[in-house]
Amino acid sequence: MSLAVATEIDPAVRAYVDEQLAALRDRVPDNRVTLVVFSGDLDRHLASLVIATGAAAMGLEVSIFYTFWGLSALKKASHLDGKSAKEKMFTLMTPGGLSTLPLSRLNFGGMGRAMLRSMMKEQEVASVEELFATARELGVKMIACTMSMDVMGITREELLDGVEVGGVATFLGDAARSRAAFFI
């Protein structure tokens, strides 16, 4: 009986339902998590990478959008060639890679950082470098913000291979379809 009813659906009603369903589908989030990493602090990067690797392990698609101080983590090298005086100063005064990031508190010129790293090792907590490598292995998408790269004079050649570049719409394109979004 239900079959008989199904075949008698008015095409206009069907079209309306299909249209409404398509509109709803546009607004249902994906199995996705998006992060903005603005900070250049080691401890905050650790937090972001724990979330990112955890989410990826749980089968979620993950994108991390790196902006401003956060970009330091993506550097494979620092270059001075072809940069303005101000850009050179910025390059020299900002960390050049994940391993040189300071702690947000109790850094004490790097002594605090060394202590935290050894304490993490004692507790068998994965290092930021290990988590970063794991994140990449798990297919976490990493995007560098071109606007802050331009402002701070960071070139594409200074960033790790495989890092994509994008802007605010790249972040929002992912964040708007995510189940959770974080600003770190």
Binding site: A22, A23, D26, I143, C145, T146, M147, D150, R156, E164, V165, G166, G167, V168, A169, T170, F171, L172, G173, D174, A176, R177
Partner: protein, 83 residues
Amino acid sequence: MPEPRTLDASGLKCPVPIVRAKKEIDSLPVGEVLRVIATDPGSVLDFQGWVKTNPSKYELVGQEQGRDAQARTTYIHLVRRKA
């Protein structure tokens, strides 16, 4: 086919190309294509992200790379207004 309306966003940084493109495309009749010329390499993923959040309103019909008179790499985005 007539030439699509062109928005020159060369030299502009995020988020200005997207904001200008949104203004421009909404002034076009439904079905028309807007051609955006940008120099920001981030605009490639940006335009993809933009249409992803508005799939019923806009459609990305093409993206290509070129070079302008000043030898800058340009990123050309063709966006169609669907509704």
